[in-house]
């Protein structure tokens, strides 16, 4: 597998010995590219048997067939709820000609050579890349395995392979009616050479792809038998919980553990450079022990940091900092006309996965085992090597199902910490973070400050467009070599540099403003597009209203030649009933249109805003063209769930820091959307024969602008700062006060004046 990245290009050439594809790049995609070097997806270096101890037919890294008829499929991308295992298994099973009920799936071990995602250049799951990465590579792998099994049958029957068919893992010689099961052929197939170029099915013959196949992972999720990382139990294991310094970059000064050690069940108090952990017989003992500690911290240089100051600094940097060019078209300075400008501001965000951060680690003199749900298994090996000094071959990562990822589990900080705790004892330790630790020690989605402006022609269409974002780079901390030649982090301008609209003169740039004092930042669902599509689609709505046009009419007028975007727009208009019938007072309908992750979406959200400023979601319509659909049930689920995730953040979520520490602690003050606040969500798929686009993050990207545009339609109030400020929406301020005193207060992000 060779990967060529030309920073000047918007696409990546992906050279698989079997196929050649072009894939659109994005920030997270670029992030990994330089890390693992090249990766080989095709082929299996040990030959066609798994190994000396396990003679199963293993024609490549993904398919295992035993002589007992068992079929295991190995999953290069991890399952965190997005349906990745079912999607990957479907691609393999389709070409292998077996049913999903006939296979089991396995987590891939940490192994960059075999399981790196070529779109990310490392063994990683993220950036809505799984199906895009696997679309050809896993079908190739399934087809190669099938052709070898069929060849084995043909040899035994002394017939031509073209006279054989396969149904559900049974090879049939058509004219004689003889049959052989895959299990009976596994040994013979393992003696054959893999085909140079496997032949893929004609899409019209697909049996599984495109159908709402039941997920392979959900039966164990409804009866409680499926283990997540937090459910791991190994012999002799104890349980720990941990508290890190509340300020980032601070260190542990001293700890008095007298009271903690007196608590029954407390086994040991472990000191790390910037944290203390208590190990107990069970979590409750560990938690009581932790709460009984008296800890002194060296708060460090970050002790005065606040998000209020951060937003002042971002605004200052936006004015006076040195911008890095993201994209330039034409010359924006030579255009005259009516100028419309706006400033947007987005808060730090936590991930708050339902499964709190955890890892189970056993460090021995001769090795280290790690049981954890991670999006980056190979990086977990790296961090364990650094902490223990053991070589990579002595470290085993046993990947697990994840109770949500959303980007949080692209970071191995907590695994390094758990190894640091476990190396101080000789038994296995399961380290579980409390929810309070999970919120206060996250890797936060950075805050952004965006100034955007358009110069309009006499029809109101943008002749020139400038968009300057200011904020920190996740890429610079995550994968420094992946930064562009001019210092650009393409994540900062993804979906801002490439608009779905026709704009003859455009300049999109970025002022880099790193988070001071080591405040940790990370990837968050929707990455760059979640940030930029909020700004772009809010601003398009502003432009429409400024020139007195309906937002749909306005988008039609500026779309240009963009048939896929037009198609989702028109279907969304039809399905939502846009423009038909009057809406009641303080009800509104908002739209967002974008093309994130190689897919096209148009979302219409309906809201009602109470006189007190409470926002109630009433209905949503999402129209999706994500190219060829592997599983329509999964696409619908991801779009619905992604919308809820994005609305949650827009409605309630914001991480604030004061005196260097995060102020939020749990779901009472880091609120997320609940069932009673969730509207009906209709998802419509536009049929397409294009290659698959990404889907897992798209709903989140679309949620925020469709919501705030709807709020504008309902109230006339333009919200340019998230999370939404209910006080700005209240008709009656006294009524609002009583509501606010009765419920959790909205977080106070340093707001725009």
């Amino acid at each position: 597998m060779m990967l060529r990245v030309d920073p000047a290009q918007e696409e990546i050439e992906l050279q698989n010995p079997m196929r050649r594809e072009w894939l659109k790049r994005g920030g997270l995609v670029v992030a990994f590219m330089w890390l693992g070097g090249v990766s080989r997806v095709w082929g299996f270096p040990e030959g066609t048997r798994l190994n000396a101890d396990d003679p199963r037919f293993a024609p490549n890294a993904f398919v295992r067939v035993g002589s007992d008829g068992s079929i295991q499929l190995v999953m290069p991308c991890i399952e965190m709820g997005q349906g990745a295992y079912t999607g990957q298994a479907t691609l393999l099973a389709e070409e292998l000609d077996v049913g999903l009920d006939q296979i089991t799936v396995e987590h891939a071990p940490a192994n960059r050579k075999l399981y790196a995602n070529p779109l990310l250049g490392d063994q990683a799951t993220g950036g809505s890349t799984t199906i895009r990465f696997c679309w050809t590579s896993l079908r190739d792998a399934g087809a190669a395995a099938r052709s070898m099994l069929v060849a084995a049958a043909a040899q035994r029957w002394k017939v031509d392979a073209s006279q054989c068919t396969v149904t559900r893992g049974v090879v049939t010689h058509t004219s004689s009616g003889r049959t052989l099961r895959y299990g009976e052929l596994a040994n013979a197939a393992a003696n054959l050479a893999p085909p140079a170029k496997p032949v893929l099915k004609d899409p019209k013959d697909f049996q599984l792809i495109g159908k709402p196949m039941r997920r392979v992972d959900t039966p164990g999720k409804v009866d409680g038998t499926l283990p997540f990382g937090i459910d791991i139990r190994v012999p002799g294991m104890k349980v720990a919980t941990v508290r890190a310094c509340p300020t980032f970059g601070g260190t542990l000064a001293s700890v008095d553990d007298t009271r903690a050690r007196a608590i029954p069940g407390v086994l040991k108090v472990v000191r790390l450079d910037n944290a203390v952990a208590v190990i107990g017989e069970h979590f409750w003992a560990a938690k009581k022990g932790l709460d009984a500690l008296t800890i002194q911290w060296n708060l460090g240089a970050g002790r005065d940091f606040s998000t209020e100051q951060l937003f002042k600094d971002l605004a200052d940097a936006s004015e006076h900092g040195t911008p890095i060019l993201g994209r330039e078209v034409g010359n924006v300075d030579k255009v005259s006309g009516k100028v419309v400008s706006a400033t947007y501001q987005l808060p730090l965000l936590a991930h708050a996965t339902m499964e709190p951060i955890n890892a189970t680690v056993h460090v021995r003199p001769d090795g280290c085992d790690i049981w954890v749900g991670t999006q980056v298994p190979a990086r977990c090996v790296d961090v364990a090597m650094r902490v223990t000094g053991l070589p990579a071959e002595r470290i085993q990562v046993h990947n697990q199902y994840m109770g949500g990822g959303f980007g949080r589990r692209l970071f191995e900080d907590s695994v390094g910490q758990a190894v640091g705790i476990a190396r101080q004892v000789d038994y296995p330790v399961k380290v579980i973070w409390t929810r309070e630790e999970d919120i206060a020690q996250d890797r936060y989605r950075p805050a952004y400050y965006d100034r955007i402006s358009a110069t309009l022609d006499d029809q109101g269409r943008p002749l020139a467009w400038t968009d300057r974002t200011t904020g920190a780079s996740v890429l610079a901390t995550f994968a420094p070599p992946a930064m562009g030649k001019n210092g650009l982090d393409s994540d900062l301008v993804e979906c801002a540099a490439e608009l779905p609209y026709e704009v003859p003169n455009l300049r999109v740039d970025w002022v880099r403003h790193d988070m001071p004092n080591g405040v940790p930042i990370g990837w968050w669902r929707g990455v760059g597009p979640t940030h930029n599509v909020f700004v772009v689609e809010s601003f398009v709505d502003e432009l429409a209203h400024t020139v007195g046009k309906d937002p749909v009419e306005y988008r039609r007028a500026i779309l240009g030649d963009n048939p896929r975007a037009k198609a989702v727009l028109e279907l969304a208009v039809e399905k939502s009933g846009w423009g038909k019938g009057d809406m009641p007072a303080r009800h509104g309908r908002g739209m967002a249109l974008a093309a994130p992750f190689g897919s096209y979406l148009c979302v219409v959200t309906d809201v009602e805003v109470s006189p007190q400023g409470e926002v109630m979601l009433r209905r949503a319509v999402a129209v999706v063209d994500c190219g060829t659909v592997v599983n329509p049930n999964t696409v619908e689920a991801q779009v619905q769930g992604g919308l809820v995730f994005g609305w949650s953040a827009a409605m309630y979520s914001g991480i604030t820091l004061k005196n260097g520490a995060v102020e939020q602690r749990n779901f009472n003050d880091y609120r997320v959307l609940r069932l009673n606040q969730t509207p009906p969500i209709e998802v419509y798929l536009v049929p397409s024969k294009e290659s698959p686009g990404g889907i897992g993050e798209t709903g989140t990207v679309m949620a925020m602008p469709s919501l705030t545009n709807a709020i504008f339609a309902a109230t006339g109030v333009r919200l340019r700062t998230l999370p939404i400020d209910r006080s700005a929406l209240a008709q009656n301020k006294d009524a609002l006060k009583s509501v606010l005193s009765a419920t959790s207060s909205a977080s106070s992000t340093g707001r725009l004046a």
């Binding site: 965190m80 709820g81 997005q82 349906g83 009920d101 709402p212 196949m213 039941r214 997920r215 992972d217 959900t218 164990g220 999720k221 409804v222 009866d223 409680g224 038998t225 283990p227 997540f228 937090i230 459910d231 139990r233 029954p264 069940g265 017989e281 069970h282 409750w284 003992a285 938690k287 996965t353 339902m354 499964e355 709190p356 199902y401 109770g403 949500g404 990822g405 959303f406 579980i432 929810r435 309070e436 049930n633 689920a637 991801q638 619905q640 769930g641 919308l643 809820v644 995730f645 749990n666 779901f667 009472n668 997320v672 959307l673 609940r674 069932l675 009673n676 606040q677 969730t678 709903g699």
Partner: protein, 159 residues
């Protein structure tokens, strides 16, 4: 020793009186289907039944469960209703990451025990204490209705 009745079986545990039932289930008895999410009854991942009622086991001291019938997700399929709820969950594929779903299912089963044909408002009231970060709420609502009425309103997955 503390005597408990869990999923129809009598069990003795030697734990501190103030230990939440959640950790007795998970760390002492190995019943891992009940999940830890927040530790302060904000998210519902730890929901179990106490004499048929949904309770948050992360804030319930184990002594509060003495003398009552505890049902966890591992014991839910012992009843027809429990099976029906789990089948509806699979039929329309509610679960994504699945971490909260055992708690969701326990809340839904308790609701359907008390109100066999719940209204939308009943569902809102009973289910608003169970968070889902994957955002499966639309399907949770539909699955509860499907379990209640047997009526299929959404396409079912192909097993």
């Amino acid at each position: 020793m503390i005597a408990l009745s869990i999923n129809g079986q009598d069990t003795q545990v030697d734990v501190p009186d103030d230990m939440p039932l959640l950790w007795v289930l998970r760390d002492v008895l190995g019943l891992n289907g009940t999940k830890f999410g927040c530790g302060m009854a904000q998210c519902g991942a730890c929901t179990v039944h106490l004499d048929g009622e949904a309770v948050r086991s992360c804030v319930l001291p184990v002594t509060g469960a003495v003398g009552k019938k505890i049902t966890t997700i591992e014991g839910l399929s012992a009843t027809d209703l429990g099976k029906r709820v789990q089948q509806a969950w699979l039929g329309i594929e509610v679960a994504q990451c699945g971490y909260c779903q055992t708690g969701q299912i326990m809340s839904a089963a308790a609701l359907l025990t008390q109100k066999p044909t719940p209204t939308d408002e009943d569902i809102d009231t009973a289910m608003s204490g169970n968070l889902c970060r994957c955002g499966t709420y639309v399907r949770i609502r539909a699955a509860i209705k499907q379990a209640a009425t047997g009526q299929i309103t959404l396409p079912q997955t192909i097993a």
